[in-house]
């Protein structure tokens, strides 16, 4: 490509620097201060916020976030890979259509979908009325409810990533494996799966990060009882406690940076991020 086109990218670098990197520093500074909102009057430097890190609820929130995100990622991986593999192997002429069907739910508003799922999890809802069930499918407010919500929301990302990676595998490699006498099962584990690891890695990250940091899903499906780190941050900012919120956000950022580094090692130009 023409070297002259470089100029197109330069403004973007400035944009990224201003909007992505600058705030990180602002938050870092805020984390070390006590201020009311963003006004710097009556502000002073303090390590007070760090004391909060020892509080039970915040530690639990971090722990829960990691736990839930990990479980969600594992389940999404198993189910999502299954779906992606079957679509990849199938003889449909129009795989694009199938993928679109899978992405379609994402076009509906997230909050509405969560509310609909939440209503299904209550003991009294339209379906139970219709079928006249008197039993108790009420799992709302518990851990499985939140996990189901997270999985159903973010699995399409996993499916797409794995599918993209699978499609890139040269079919002749599979034929060669079969020729050399591998059974289909072995072919999968020794040839296909390793080659699709790029997709697995990016898909996992695309599921893990939002699951860990969202707040709408745990707030609604957990009936306010389940606190993930996203909920604590949101509550902090709502109560004008920018300092605590910034501190927690900075910690979250470190986790995300870690994920970024993994992505850049696995997939240098971010091809399978879509």
């Amino acid at each position: 490509m023409n070297k002259g086109f470089k100029i197109f990218a330069k403004p973007y670098i400035v944009w990224l620097a201003l909007l992505a990197i600058l705030p990180m520093f602002v938050m870092l500074i805020l984390a070390f201060m006590y201020s009311e909102g963003l006004s710097f009057e009556e502000a002073y430097f303090t390590f007070f916020q760090f004391q909060m890190l020892g509080e039970y609820s915040i530690l639990t929130a971090f722990f829960n976030s990691f736990l839930y995100a990990t479980i969600t990622t594992v389940i999404s991986l198993v189910l999502g890979y299954f779906v992606a593999y079957n679509v990849h192997k199938s003889k449909f002429k129009n795989k694009f259509l199938i993928l679109t069907i899978l992405i379609l739910p994402m076009w509906s508003n997230l909050l509405l979908r969560i509310e609909a799922l939440g209503n299904l999890m209550e003991p009294n809802n339209i379906i139970t009325q219709w079928l006249n069930i008197n039993g108790d499918l009420s799992i709302k407010g518990t851990m499985p409810a939140v996990i189901i919500g997270l999985v159903l929301t973010y699995m399409p990302f996993m499916i797409l990533s794995v599918y993209t990676a699978l499609e890139k595998i040269d079919y002749s490699l599979e034929e060669a494996a079969l020729d050399l006498g591998l059974t289909p099962m072995q072919k999968f584990w020794k040839v296909i799966f390793p080659l699709s690891l790029k997709g697995v890695a990016t898909g996992s990250i695309l599921v893990f990060l939002p699951s860990m940091s969202g707040f709408a899903i745990p707030e609604f499906l957990g009936s306010g009882n389940i606190l993930l780190i996203g909920n604590v941050i949101e509550a902090a900012f709502r109560n004008m406690d920018y300092n605590l919120g910034s501190l927690l956000s900075v910690i979250l950022l470190f986790v995300i940076l870690g994920a970024l580094i993994i992505v850049s090692k696995v997939d240098k130009e971010g091809e399978t991020l879509l």
Partner: protein, 289 residues
């Protein structure tokens, strides 16, 4: 007369006979995939049901009615919210697509190492938690308040949407750029075409698929965004998600919003199916020649 010899079974050859298991597995996988897809669509189906429920209660189904569809634009705040959402998303998507393509071309013109470094930073808006992005943007925009006191509103909202949709467009276009023949550009220049014209007439057609999928992704991400919009809008310019969040659990969450959501789903489904159908028709015509 030739004797027909019995065929040897796999077992006699020494292999294990998996054919029955294979059939079971095939059936099982089809059922499982269908179940998973149903799971993904569960909430959408519920929304569709609730949109034709004549009672606004979420527990009882009174009777089938289409009145919520008719009333969709009669609730003022909902109508404004829907309008704002569509306007924002369309503007943001168009800007993101055009700018994103140019920027992708620009990034691609860098050497490999620098390119990878830029792409690393490009991933930040994608991977960053919604809430952190939303708050960061709010902090940055707040710092501009002394200069532009009324900046919060459509301007900041569109900038925020641009912020997180540009990376998607760039990520869609760059792989396609890599697939194009590197000699195309040189050939065009050799033939005396000026660089920008060459860009427009040679490169862009080659990467159209990437631009298109980037545009789709940008629109998808933008139209459903909640957290980032929540923190970066102001001056009364609310979008649909914010309206829903403010009305969830209240009686003012009219089923008309379910109606809107269902319509959106149906429209996109029909567009996708229609697009596929047209594409196939086009191909058939080609073959006939």
């Amino acid at each position: 007369m030739t004797k027909t010899y019995p065929r040897a079974t796999l077992k006699e050859y020494g292999y294990k006979d998996y054919s029955v298991l294979k059939k079971i597995y095939k059936v099982f996988s089809i059922v499982a995939v269908i179940l998973i897809v149903i799971g993904l669509y569960l909430s959408i189906i519920m929304l569709a049901i609730q949109s034709v429920n004549s009672s606004s209660s979420v527990t009882s189904f009174n009777s089938f009615t289409l009145k919520w569809y008719a009333e969709m634009f009669s609730v003022r705040s909902l109508k404004t919210a829907i309008q704002n959402t569509i306007v924002t998303s369309i503007i943001a998507t168009i800007l993101a697509t055009m700018l994103g393509t140019l920027i992708a071309v620009g990034i691609y013109s860098f050497e490999k190492k620098k390119r990878q470094a830029i792409m690393l930073f490009n991933n930040i808006p994608l991977l960053n938690a919604d809430i952190v992005t939303g708050i960061s943007l709010m902090l940055v925009f707040s710092m501009l308040l002394p200069i532009f006191p009324y900046i919060f509103g459509p301007t900041t909202l569109i900038m925020a949407h641009l912020f997180f949709t540009l990376p998607y467009v760039i990520l869609s276009v760059i792989p396609k750029l890599k697939e194009t023949d590197p000699n195309l550009m040189d050939a065009a220049l050799d033939l005396g075409v000026r660089p920008f014209k060459a860009l427009r007439k040679v490169i862009v057609p080659a990467i159209t698929a990437g631009i298109f999928s980037g545009m789709l992704l940008a629109f998808t991400m933008s139209i459903d965004d909640f957290v980032i919009s929540y923190y970066t809008t102001g001056n009364g310019f609310d979008n649909l998600s914010i309206w829903i969040y403010g009305s969830m659990g209240r009686k003012s969450l009219t089923p008309s919003v379910y109606a809107f959501s269902t319509i959106l789903t149906l429209v996109t489904m029909l567009t996708m199916v229609g697009y596929q159908w047209f594409q196939r028709k086009g191909r058939k015509v080609h073959v006939k020649r």
